[in-house]
Symmetry: D2
Subunit: 90 residues, 4 copies
C-alpha cells in the first residue's frame, strides 16, 4: 500500500469494525438467534466489506495509477487493478 | 437458528475462519503490503462470506420452511427469507 | 412458472424494460458515448436484473414452496430454490 | 468510448448476445417454463453482464487512464472510473 498515514488509519479502522461485526455473528450463532437476525448481520458485513474494497481500489487508483512515479510503475499499477476488477466483477 | 448441533458447529467454524481472514487483512495493511495483495485477501473474504450467507439461507429454507412445525411458522419463515433475499439481491 | 396472470404480466414488463435498457447500451456503444455513460447504463441494468431475479425467487417461494400442492412438490421447489441461491450467492 | 474498432466490435457482440439472452427469458416466461429454468437463464445473464462491465472498465483503464493524452484527461478518466466503482462495488 504505502498510502498516506491518514488513509492507512481509516482503512484499519474499517477492518477493525468488520472484525467486531464478525464477532457479533459468532455470538448470534452461539446464542441461537433467529436466522433472520443472523442474515441481517451478514448483509451489513457484506456492505462494509464492499465499502472497504471500493476504498482500497480508489486509493490505489489515485495513489499508484494517477500519481505513479513513472510510466512503468503506472502500467504495473493498472495491471494490478485490472486483476482485482476481474476477480471482483463477475 | 436452533438448527442441528452439527450445522451450528459448521457455521461457527466458517465464522471463525472469516475472523482469521479479517486479521490477515489487518496485518497486511499494517505491514503496508501491496494493494494487489490486500485486494486478493478482500476478494477471498467476500467469497467466504457469500458461502456462509448461502449456507445460512439454505439451512433456514430446509429447517424452518420445509420442516416447519405448522403452517403459521412456515409462513413466517418464508417472510424472513424473502426479507433476506430482498436485502441481498439488489 | 405457472404463476398468476398478474405476476406473469409484471415479470414480462420487467423483462421488456430490460431489453430496452440493453438497446440503450448498444446505441451508446455505437455512438461512442463516454465510458462513464456506458458504465452507468450497465449499472442500472444490473439493478433491474437483480430486482427481476429477486422477484422470481420470491414468487417461487410463495407459490411453489409456501403454497405447494403436497409435501413432495414442496421439497422439490425447495431444492430448486436452493440451487438458484447457490448459483447466485457466491 | 472512442476505443479501437476491434474493441468496439467485441463489446457490441457481447451486448447483442445479452439481448438474445434476455429474449430467451421472455420466451421462457411466456411459455411458463419452470422457475428453476428462468432463474438459471437470469444467472447466466448476470454473469455475461458482469463480464461486459469488467471489460468496459478495463478498456477505460487502459485507453483513457494509462494512455491518456495529458494529465488533465488522465485525472478526469480516473474520476469517471472511481464513480463507476463506487456504484458497482457496494
Amino acid at each position: 500500500m504505502a498510502h498516506t498515514i491518514r488513509e492507512k488509519a481509516k482503512l484499519l479502522a474499517r477492518v477493525r469494525r468488520l472484525k467486531g461485526q464478525m464477532e457479533a455473528v459468532e455470538r448470534a450463532l452461539e446464542a441461537e438467534a433467529p436466522c433472520g437476525e443472523v442474515l441481517q448481520l451478514l448483509a451489513s458485513i457484506r456492505g462494509a466489506l464492499s465499502g472497504l474494497t471500493g476504498e482500497v481500489m480508489e486509493d490505489h487508483l489515485r495513489e499508484h495509477v494517477l500519481h505513479a512515479d513513472d510510466e512503468k510503475q503506472r502500467a504495473q499499477a493498472v495491471d494490478e487493478l485490472a486483476d482485482a476488477l476481474r476477480t471482483y466483477i463477475r
